[in-house]
Amino acid sequence: MSVAAIGADAHGHVDQLYVETRELRLQGFLLFLISDCVLFSSFIFAYLYLRNSGQGWPPPGIQRLDVAFAAWNSVVLFGSGATMHYALENFKHGNFMKYMRFLLATIVLGAGFLGGQAYEYNHLIFGEHVTWWGSGIFGASFFTLTGMHGLHVFLGVCYLTVLVLQSAAGVYTKGKFFGITAGTLYWHFVDVIWVVLFSIFYLI
C-alpha cells in the first residue's frame, strides 16, 4: 500500500506551507481545546462547590433527575464519537465513501442528541417547573452547563457539515486533512465533557 506524502494534494504536489505549519496548527488547536476545558472546569467546580455547601442535594422541592432518558441520550452522543473516529480512520485508509457515511452518521447522531436535550428541557421546564431563572442554584447550574455543552454540540454539528461540503468538493486529500483531524478532536472533546456532565448531574 502506498503512503501519501504529508501535505501532498490529489496530484502529488506537496504544499510546503502545510507541511511546515501542520504541527503548529495542531498545537494551536489543542491549546484551544485546553482553554475550553478550563472554561468547563470552572463551571463544573463552581457547581460542585455550591452543591456541597448547601443542605442536601437537590434542594427541597426539586426531584432528582431521571437517569433513564439521559442514559439513552448519552449513548447517542457517545455513539457519534465512535462513528467520528471511524470516519477519520476510513479517510486515512482512502475509503472515501465509508468516510462520508460515518461522517453523516455522526451529524445525525449529534443532531439526535440535541433533539433529546430539547425534549428533556421541555419536560423539565413545563413538566416539573425546573427553570434556569426560578429554580435557584440547581436550575441555574444545570441549564448553564448543559446549555453550554449543547451550544458546543451545535457548533460541532455545523463544523462537521462544513467538513462534508469541503470533502465533497475535494478540499481534503490523503496527505492533507488537518481539518478532519481537528473535527475529530473537537467531537471527542465534546463527548468527553458530556461524560463528566452526565456523571455529576445524573449519577452522583
Binding site: 489543542l30 442514559a71 439513552w72 464519537g81 465512535a82 475529530t184 452526565f198 449519577l203
Partner: protein
C-alpha cells in the same frame, strides 16, 4: 412496556456496542505515536468509560429513576 423500559433497554444495548467499539479502537491504536494519537487514545478511553457508565445507568446499577407516579 413503558417508555422508561425502552430507554433503558436502548441505553444497555447501545452502551455495550459503543463500549466495545471504543475499547477495540483503543486496542487497535495502542501502538500509534504522535501527539494527536495520544490525545485520541485518551479520549477513546474516556468515551468507553462514558459508555460503560450509561450502560450501568441503563441497568439501574447507578443513577436514579423516580418511582411510577412520582411526578
Amino acid at each position: 412496556m413503558n417508555a422508561q423500559f425502552v430507554e433503558r433497554l436502548g441505553a444497555v444495548i447501545a452502551g455495550i456496542a459503543v463500549a466495545v467499539v471504543a475499547f477495540y479502537a483503543l486496542y487497535k491504536d495502542w501502538q500509534s505515536t504522535g501527539i494527536e494519537n495520544q490525545v485520541f487514545k485518551l479520549m477513546l478511553a474516556l468515551l468507553g468509560l462514558g459508555a460503560v457508565l450509561a450502560l450501568l445507568a441503563g441497568l439501574n446499577v447507578i443513577g436514579f429513576t423516580p418511582p411510577k407516579g412520582a411526578y
